[in-house]
Amino acid sequence: MNIEHILFYVMGFIAVASALVVAASKNLVRSLFMFFVTLFALAGLYVFALADFVAITQIVIYVGGVLVLMLFAFMLSGKEVLNNLQQRNSRFISLSKVPAILVALLFAIVLYNAITKAQPNDLPWIKASAQSGNVIKPADNTINNIGVNLMTRYLLPFEAVSVLLMMTLIGAAHLARKEEHKII
């Protein structure tokens, strides 16, 4: 066990534990702030996967954007809506929980299969790249790679995403603008 292993397990534990708190906490604001811890631990795990760019993007987008947006939505909604949301059924077994149990079971099956059958170390393309030296090392600069790939191989998805973002921007501007006949 070297320090990297210890850090990996610590971060994994934090991610899982904080996610459990997010789901179980009765206080909505606290679960939102706990979600921040989950996202941060996930960013740490990305760093271990040598995806430092993804890790930082995760912080910019989720912590700086999505989470703040969720908090805004929370703080701007009325007290009654929130109280309704915070009231929960105290019975352990009830009909409203069936979908959740179903999803959890299916997901458990998928995870089980993924863990036992995928065998990532034996995949032919991974073996081939490991043999030909086509791998990323911890000291490599990954952003050039990402940039070149985005502009060549993944150009179409990239452009499609930009069109989607443009549409949301126009939609947001349309929703937020003033009616023309009104006097300010």
Binding site: F33, F53, I56, T57, V60, V63, G64, L71, M75, I143
Partner: protein, 364 residues
């Protein structure tokens, strides 16, 4: 195995020393900053400022901080205690972590990240979360309003700041802050052209700074500087604190050490954004003195000691400008603030980015 373990130990001890040093620096800077702010404001308003404690009042901020440390930590009865007490720490730590990637001199940087700029930009955005935490945790309408204002302002101004930064990155072609710094002086391995036509690779000095390598970056720098004022919640963008409307904004309920942390974060943020501005636009640790003929001023004034001196001097000058602006301009109204951001700064920043692209393709 012994040498390896030793090496590891040294490695971690070095990092701990650097971290403690950066903390000490930000604390000392806050002390100095508060004193400077008082003296500058006094000068601008034709007063004397602190004069009693120590010579010229120099010990005034030490006295203040001692008083603050002794004060009781009051938690309002209706507050969410956990969020309330965690918020100042998150606010400060997010700003403090930003210092981890900033280069101080040739070869001297706490960590050498190849995506350093992106990291700093990301880590600063965590501050908004701390502010929201403080605002909600205090359970006070002024705190909540202040936090909302602060966050909406910071998020809005991240956009023009981000595009101004991108226009530099397009010229520099790297996100590594140390590489961006090296490019702007005589130590570079590239050809540096003043205004795109005059080769100044061996002349260096002022002429090879980013704002003179591509003159539209002067506009980008002004945009970045204005946006950085807003990100640090400084006047004329201090509507989150707006004493006359919101008591003190998101930190209304804080006392003692917790308030000290919020304060420390504000002053560290001032220095941090100034230092980022200096690194990106104003030549980082490079000297402003060019080589003139056989007088090698740039060669003489480029090394580690001079590097730290120049970067500190330039950042302090920018902090001085921030203070000057704070005590000269009145506060913006919220709609004026948003108009300035979305209708003036953002389009201008976009134009800068476009020019950067063309500049890079045609002139470099």
């Amino acid at each position: 195995m012994q040498p390896k373990a030793n090496y590891h130990l040294n490695f971690y001890i070095t990092y701990i020393i650097i971290a403690v040093g950066l903390f000490a620096f930000s604390a000392l800077f806050a002390l100095f900053g508060v004193y400077a702010e008082r003296k500058v404001s006094a000068f601008i308003q034709d007063r004397l400022g602190p004069t009693e404690v120590g010579k010229f009042g120099t010990l005034q901020t030490f006295a203040d901080i001692l008083k603050m440390l002794q004060k009781e930590l009051i938690v309002p009865a209706a507050a969410d205690k956990l969020l309330f007490s965690l918020a100042p720490v998150i606010i400060f730590v997010s700003v403090y972590l930003g210092f981890a990637a900033l280069p101080w001199a040739p070869g001297i940087a706490p960590t050498n990240l190849n995506i350093g700029l992106f990291y700093v930009f990301a880590i600063i955005s965590i501050e908004t979360l701390g502010i929201l935490m403080a605002g909600w945790g205090s359970n006070n309408k002024y705190s909540l309003l202040g936090a909302m204002r602060s966050v909406s302002q910071i998020i809005s101004y991240e956009i023009p700041a981000g595009f101004a930064i991108i226009s530099v990155v397009m010229i520099a072609q790297t996100l590594d802050l140390q590489a961006i710094a090296t490019q702007q002086g005589i130590l570079t391995s590239e050809t540096i052209k003043f205004f795109g036509f005059y080769d100044v690779t061996h002349i260096g000095g002022l002429l090879s700074w980013n704002i003179f390598r591509a003159p539209h970056l002067i506009v980008a720098f002004v945009i970045y500087f204005i946006a950085s004022l807003a990100e640090a919640n400084r006047a004329p963008f201090d509507i989150p604190e707006a004493e006359s409307e919101l008591v003190a904004g998101f930190h209304t309920e804080y006392t003692g050490l917790r308030f000290a942390f919020v304060f420390l974060a504000e002053y560290s943020m001032m220095f941090l954004v100034s230092m980022i501005g200096v690194i990106l636009f104003l030549g980082a640790w490079n000297t402003p003195l060019p080589n003139i003929g056989s007088v090698y001023l740039a060669n003489w004034t480029t090394n580690v000691a001079w590097g730290i001196f120049w970067v500190a001097l330039k950042s302090l000058l920018l902090v001085g400008v921030q203070m000057w602006i704070r005590w000269t301009l009145p506060r913006f109204r919220i709609d004026q603030l948003m108009n300035l951001c979305w209708k003036v700064l953002t389009p201008l920043a976009f134009v800068c980015m476009l020019i950067s692209g063309v500049w890079r393709l045609l002139l470099m």
